[in-house]
């Protein structure tokens, strides 16, 4: 029985996350259009939702082309990384008091490790394409990574101090009487900024930067390989949103009349919307601006937050 439940959760996560990501491709366009006073794709099926399916069919029908000048093995394997890493990240998200795939005692570290691995997909894709635009995209990704990975990890340490555990299940449990967004507001802000950079979303989509770099790291990708990059990106958005909801907004905790998974989904959805809103509203900074933001602003904020949190925790305990 226990075994069955875990399989249900695993498959539910896989199918749910993939479907969500595919639908998000359509949903994002509709929302962007909404905020830009347009209509967006509304022809295929009710509200145009069939576009998600049509997109997949189109990508499957495209020629799966590997450029002759590319480093073939790496080129083929790169998109898989982003997908696998992002899906692995979902393993530690608790959907309810008893419903989770894995309650790792290093859940938070596992999540950060997995999202960092996803960056390698971008790096490898950019490098193996043997194309100048892709290379610049990959380079930017590397530059971006060194600037946000540091404070991304540190921003969560305040939460770890308060809850006393790296396990996401425990972190959610310890928010029963107050979300961490209140006590860890700066940690939250910093984590959101880092999360945007991590999932390569506007305004920090420097590795992709359609307007400057054609397609950035995935310039040479076509067909389903491109599709996997795309779905990976949206999986990243969902994962980061789910993490923000779990770590700072009490995860599945909510009024009891609806199942816990609903509250998690609703909170995640809000942050997905926020990601889309950012894309609709914000211009993209240069990457030196992003780096200086990371090192000169975000890192000091995180460190101060960390020291203050540590002090308060000590003071409370004595």
């Amino acid at each position: 029985m226990e075994d069955l439940l875990i399989y249900v959760v695993i498959f539910g996560t896989l199918i749910g996350a993939m479907t969500y990501a595919a639908i998000l491709v359509w949903f994002e366009r509709r929302m962007l259009a909404w905020w830009q006073d347009r209509l967006g794709p509304n022809r295929v099926g009710p509200f145009g939702i069939g576009l998600a399916l049509a997109d997949i069919l189109k990508l499957l029908a495209k020629e799966d082309w590997v450029p002759p000048f590319a480093d073939k093995k790496v080129f083929v394997i790169a998109p898989c990384f982003v997908m696998i890493a992002m899906l692995m990240g979902f393993a530690v998200v608790p959907y309810g008091p008893e419903t989770y795939i894995a309650d790792l005692n290093i859940g938070l570290l596992f999540f950060m490790g997995m999202t960092s691995l996803a960056v390698y997909a971008v790096l490898l894709g950019g490098l193996s394409s043997n194309n100048k635009f892709s290379l610049i995209g990959g380079l930017r990704s590397a530059a971006q990574m060194v600037s946000y990975e540091v404070f991304m990890g540190l921003s969560l340490m305040g939460v770890v101090m308060l809850s006393g555990s790296f396990s996401l299940v425990d972190i959610v449990e310890s928010q029963q009487d107050g979300w961490f967004v209140i006590s860890q507001f700066f940690g939250f802000v910093v984590f959101v900024v880092a999360g945007i950079a991590e999932s390569h979303r506007l305004p920090f989509d420097l590795p992709e930067a359609e307007q400057e770099l054609v397609g950035g790291f995935h310039t040479e990708y076509s067909g389903m390989k491109f599709g996997i990059f795309m779905v990976g990106e949206y999986l990243g958005v969902i994962l980061i949103s789910a993490m923000i909801a779990t770590i700072f907004f009490g995860g599945w905790i909510g009024p009891g009349f609806l199942p816990p998974i609903f509250w998690l989904a609703a909170k995640t959805f809000c942050f997905v919307m926020f990601f889309i809103l950012l894309r609709a509203a914000m211009p993209r900074p240069r990457y030196d601006q992003l780096m200086s933001l990371g090192w000169k602003v975000m890192l000091p904020i995180t460190l101060v937050n960390l020291v203050v949190t540590g002090g308060v925790v000590l003071w409370m305990n004595t």
């Binding site: 909404w34 905020w35 830009q36 209509l39 809103l277 914000m282």
Partner: protein, 182 residues
């Protein structure tokens, strides 16, 4: 240091204002016109499919002066002048290649007789490119278009049968160059 912090706060604030402004658009209706179901308003002087018009007597207005063909920036008008028995010029053939036409309206401006005019009908899609070449019978309409009542031959000084020099509207009697009288 202090200035940097103040700048940071200000910059953050401006970004938040941007977010708020975009979020406000949640409540504004879309500007999109859903074209095939919903036609956009096209003003009468909208520039699209070209027509050749006739004067009030039902004769072709075009006098084959070739000004439109010269004015056309993409050289998509071809015509051949011929002459009727009563002395009127008219095009033997008149061909516009709409696959090249950029709907700029230069031809309309160049035309001295209001013969060539642009209309608001822009729906000219074809599967076959050669169907975009319109001949005179496709272009000619049975009316005056945008300038009713104007007839080039009635106001011009050129002689045609039934109208001699000096007989056009507002035209003065021709000067007798051999006479000494003022």
């Amino acid at each position: 240091m202090i200035k940097g912090i103040l700048d940071l706060i200000r910059n953050t604030f401006t970004q938040l204002i941007t977010l708020k402004m975009v979020l406000h658009h949640t409540f504004s209706p879309p500007d999109t016109v859903q074209y095939p179901e919903q036609m956009p308003y096209l003003p009468p002087r909208y520039r699209a499919r070209i027509i050749l018009t006739r004067d009030p007597d039902g004769e072709e207005r075009c006098v084959s002066c070739n000004l439109c063909a010269v004015a056309c920036p993409v050289d998509c008008i071809v015509l051949q002048k011929t002459e009727s028995e009563d002395g009127r010029w008219y095009p033997e053939f008149f061909r516009i290649n709409f696959s090249r036409c950029v709907m700029c309206g230069m031809c309309e401006e160049a035309c001295p007789t209001y013969a060539i005019q642009l209309t608001p009908d822009f729906e000219m899609c074809e599967y076959d490119r050669s169907n975009m070449v319109y001949e005179k019978e496709h272009l000619l309409i049975d009316g005056c278009g945008k300038y009713p009542g104007y007839s080039f031959w009635n106001v011009s000084g050129k002689t045609i049968s039934g109208k001699d020099k000096g007989e056009a509207e507002n035209e003065a009697e021709p000067v007798d160059v051999r006479s000494l009288m003022p």
